[in-house]
Symmetry: D2
Subunit: 436 residues, 4 copies
């Protein structure tokens, strides 16, 4: 019975303001949630080192910081995602209205806002100026990519009296947060770094579903429906949709299930054959030639089929900056499909849609709004309690504390033998033969 | 390590057609998923009778029925819910396209369609005539409430050669299914009854989230947003929204989190005080009188405050058919609030919205579409495998087999000490004092 | 060839800042748009007093006010409507960014904000603080109903140096604006009153379509679709939807056309028979009893059938405050329908939906956003040019100047012989017999 | 007073079934609607040849065909557009339910379906099988482009006893309809060709607004909002959206007004300068460098800037099939903007979105649904009355009969001096200097 330990800045010794507000239930540090749920995995763990648990997130009765004395900071990093503004808003409201904090700084353009490169003063956030921000997508703090000098960032935190920094970001951002934590430790500072995982691709480990993901799937489904309508509207119509997902096909898979009009779903985790008798193109032809169908819908994640593209690129194309261009699996498939049908002298109308940013820059739907809210509240509770070096996870329907380093070990991907992928196979009715 | 046992019609002995289609992974009957996830509950179970597990749903390698020889039936019972047509469609497509069934009958108007009272012949369903039904809310089979004579229903099943009956419904429908199962057993028939739980209130036990629930919350959030806009648009504006939820406040609670503009959320599970110094009305007045707010938004589940209504009803009102009228908590609160402010000579504009059926008759959103799809596929797998007397549950992110009788023991409700309700308290900032 | 004359504060003598910005085209005061478009009406006018025209709205090359020296004011009055915030935003941006104004005051809670009763200081509006307001319904200035003392309002205008007051409101607001104009004239002040017509019911004369109307119809259609789904989902299901429209049935009519699933559409302008052989109830029964239909959808405007309700109310009910209650045509019809079917011993499931504020408190759709924008820009041009006592109309696809008094003579209503109503008859297929 | 004459197959002599149904009002052939509405144009016409009018559409009391004896046909041609299924549905319902027709054939894949190339039998359409089709975008009949042999098409019409052919299509389709009409006349047949204008670009003359246009603008606005969010979310973010519009910038212009977050709107009708001191790129830099903005949103119609692309293409690129590729103004602008900023060593994040088919394959919104419905009903009335060689127009808020040949003379485009374009200039605040 091992709960994964998390870092604490010190022993909490201050009664939580929530206790004074007659909050009825608090979460103790021993409360935790099981990691594995499958019988066979549990049996194995019981036989070996005992069951693994995650510490539960939530309000602690005793906290580490005096809310009235500290300043909190927030940065939003990496690509956009539905719900960031919900998270920002909920952090600010929780800090002010529940804990009685009155200084919250929003740094602009991600980690850059914590350095001297920043041209903008941080924004003083309060419940009034965040009141309505969640009705718009994106982040009011703007974002940027890439690491920054940790020394400089820590100096800013000190200068601004930041005691809790909320970091909203993905994979790369977590690595940055790690470095920041190390520098804070090295300098023996009592500054808490609390991360809220943000990834449109839903590819962070120990996070069942990232915020904004459902909204993105909703938008992706709309796009697939358009492709389906177009495919059915033209002779031998082929709707082709490229969706986000560099290393993980979660959006493509879930959107294919949600739409249920998809005939082929190609993702990075399951390599496929393009050519040959039972390759993708031949199977596509079968589908389109089916007299009662006469159309097809294909969904492809942007990271799918990269090895095929590389193989088929000849030298010349590569030189002419084709490199970047041809790695676009959407354009590549469009060209290959058109070539394939044209060589067979069969009319085919490929309707290619690349929704790009459309699926990620909308406001959060109801689920993601509520989810973002509770992630944010959990982050505030964690920070106030003096936790650090953690992200707020979501596991078996509970909010958890996960050490940041655990999440950057490797990316979450779809297991081809999982029920998820099997269900995609079941729903698309795409033949196993096209996959390697 | 106990997996809750489920009924089987007999030993499956036929190779699944999916195996012939090179399906890679099947689910064994021993695969199962843990029930409790909290450390303390697990510790307790380990100390006592061992951990409890649910059997996992999914395709079995060996099945009980020969798909080509049987007829399957479907009924949809009780109130509408987003996603019923998705379930219907997915059952039909799975039966035809994956298992090779070719006879599926849809009975009209719920259980009534299985009796001689039915004026309509059952509908022959096939992939073509269900192709587009999921774009519309409701159920193409229509629905009805109430029990029917089980004897007569079993006779219809025999007459129509129905070997698997898929029953889509809630609480009452499950009781009906129980009775049906008993009569089938008594008559020694090999007919499988597979239930797919449908409840807009999300109040079925052992089902983490019922299909259509998220869509309903989405619509409810839209309505709350309207009430919020109206409340802010008038002097001392008070937006009041009544939402579905007779015994469980899940829609009200989740919609309050999703909207995050709700100041009071009243649900059946947590009784409240209307009058008195720190009662609801006094706290509402405080909120509205707050110079920087000047408005309030209230969400009330239809089952909330029933005991208060009964107490305040005088004899006369009851006689004049007031009985029905006054049990409407929305109208009741509207009247009480107006009276309260009017007695204090304070202007107050109560904007009451009762969205009623609006939140449940829309098509499913992306999540619910995908969820309905997999529930349906799981139901088909279970039926084909000869399971019976079960419903398809969803637990810790996995699809499960749950004995029907387990779900009708008691309703799922919100525990006032749960994180869910605590989060609603945290988000609305409503005072604990108004609750008993 | 008569253009309806409008009031001017004086002769414009200042070159418009737009001219300095190289604006290519200006509108002259003689540019105007025809009133009648039907051949027979035109022939008649040509025979009699000559054709009638409305002055065209738009930027004038010479203006009356020096934008840098004046303060502008805005009030929003009456009920909410999609697009008010779009109008506010566009007025502010046009004044600042195009004309170089830098003082715009938003008064709270309608005309009340111009009096000493106002508890709030007016809001200084600028492009920054209105930047994102159009993503939310309602009005950031809040609204209120009812007239205020004109003397006091004029005093406020003087005190605040308001030279142009933009008044956003409906029927009642226009009457208020009239009184204000008279007082301004009496006191010989050079203050311009420019109205932007706002009416969710679309019942203002000389305004083809009021802003927000299309959005309201869109929402109403969604509600009707819900009622349709519910009606089809239950035995002899009858969907009944009450929509806004006290004196004019525009929303009910247009929503019935948009949904095209409506079987009966009842509006204030066309009285109907409830009882009797070919009355509404009998025809409803016919529809429901039709074996291939088995359901019906009814849309009723809130102002329809008022005379029937009055007739059927007995004395007693009236006394017991039943007055208000029974004038609710939705509840009344629900009761009568249920009684009618119950007396005939026919099962009928009436699904009543009263969306109330839902249809008017959403943000504007694309059309209404663009329309609100140009109305607002036209209002700014008119005010700057020294026009007064006008509202911005929309006629034959052009923006116009209409004297305020013309619009309050009588309400715009649906002519039962118009193509609009005939098209509703054509689409619902409701029998002529039910109408008087 | 000249009404533009339209073709009639002969003198109508049959009493309309609508008259038997007690329809109250019919439209006479003399009823008509004025063409010009501007005072100066009217004055000029009065001086010269008299005012011009369009014949009004609507039901005639006497009709030409006996509905019970004829077959009607429908084809849908060209690109998709929201509302086609609404039109199909309404034609069928009007023919069956109002006129008593009982044979309506839907030909597949446009004009091709009227030839021997068609592999599919035409579909027998009736109120049941079109009941729910309008909830999905596209056309259930599918579509295709290009002309077909008119002789063969006429033969099919004869063979199938088609007396009225409803043709739904745009520019090219109208030319095809013209040829068909000529062949029908030459062969002395009494077959009516009634066109319903369909163009997503809204570029058909004498049609104020084409059906589906508003829906497309709504979707385009959503996409622009995404681009706006992305632009604000990154350092020096530049949102770039390419919208449909080969020769006319109506979608780009109206979507820019609707979104009101657009800083540059480029359309085919108004050529622009890319380079140079006051060219587009320099002005874009100014906007982005503005410290209080730091972002920009650009909307470009696909037909804009074609002459610039041609000039900048060097020989080599043209040869390598670059021809097609480089005419993509979206990609071209993206490249040029990135090059421009990179040469200046200024960070710029161009977020390019090409929604392509997304904006046209959705179901119609409420306005377009109602509009499509009445267009269809008007088409049926016209066909039944023996009109031919016309399209159903919409002018000054009335449905009209327009000779087909009038609409193909030239395309409707935006006049740079029109209020529409001036309003776009006013709203985007883009400088006049960038336009030639």
């Amino acid at each position: 019975m091992n709960t994964i330990p998390v870092d604490n800045l010190g022993k909490p010794a201050i009664q939580s303001p929530l206790a004074l507000k007659k909050q009825k239930s608090f979460i103790s540090d021993t409360a935790s949630i099981i990691y594995h749920v499958h019988k066979e995995e549990i049996a194995k763990e019981l036989d070996e080192n005992g069951l693994t648990f995650f510490e539960l997130a939530g309000p602690r009765e005793t906290i580490y910081f005096n809310p009235k004395e500290i300043t909190c900071g927030i940065v939003t990093c990496g690509g956009l995602c539905p719900g960031i503004n919900d998270v920002l808003r909920a952090i600010v409201i929780e800090l002010f209205e529940r804990y009685g904090c009155n200084k919250v700084l929003g740094f602009h353009y991600g980690y850059k806002g914590l350095t001297s490169k920043s041209e903008l003063e941080p924004l003083f956030l309060n419940p009034d100026n965040v009141d309505n921000i969640h009705t718009t997508g994106g982040t009011i703090l703007s974002s940027s990519r890439g690491p920054q000098d940790p020394e400089e960032m820590v100096n800013t935190l000190i200068k601004r009296n930041i005691k809790i920094l909320f970091v909203i970001g993905g994979d790369g951002t977590m690595r940055g947060a790690q470095v920041l934590v190390e520098h804070i430790k090295k300098r023996n500072l009592k500054i808490s770094i609390i991360a809220i995982p943000k990834t449109i691709d839903n590819d962070l480990n120990y996070v069942e579903k990232s915020f904004g993901f459902e909204t993105a799937v909703e938008e992706a489904m709309r796009v697939i429906d358009s492709a389906h309508v177009e495919a059915k509207g033209a002779p031998n119509g082929i709707g082709l949709v490229k969706l986000m997902g560099r290393f993980s096909g979660f959006i493509a898979s879930h959107a294919s299930l949600a739409s249920s009009n998809v005939n082929f779903c190609l993702i990075p985790e399951v390599p496929f054959k393009l050519y040959g008798e039972d390759g993708f193109l031949a199977c596509l032809e079968n589908r389109v030639k089916n007299k009662s169908k006469r159309h097809a819908v294909i969904v492809v994640a942007e990271g799918a089929g990269q090895s095929i593209i590389e193989k088929t690129m000849d030298k010349e194309t590569q030189d002419a900056s084709g490199n970047i261009k041809f790695k676009n699996i959407g354009n590549f498939l469009k060209t290959e499909i058109e070539k394939f049908f044209s060589e067979k002298n069969v009319e085919a109308n490929v309707k290619y849609i690349d929704p790009s940013y459309i699926i990620r820059s909308v406001p959060a739907n109801a689920f993601d709004s509520a989810y973002s809210l509770v992630l944010a509240q959990s982050a505030v509770h964690a920070g106030m309690a003096g936790k650090t070096n953690i992200l707020i996870g979501y596991w078996n329907h509970h909010y958890t504390h996960v050490p940041i380093n655990m999440t950057i070990e490797k990316r979450k991907q779809i297991n081809p033998n999982s029920r998820l992928w099997q269900t995609v196979m079941e729903t698309t009715l795409q033949p196993e033969s096209i996959f390697l």
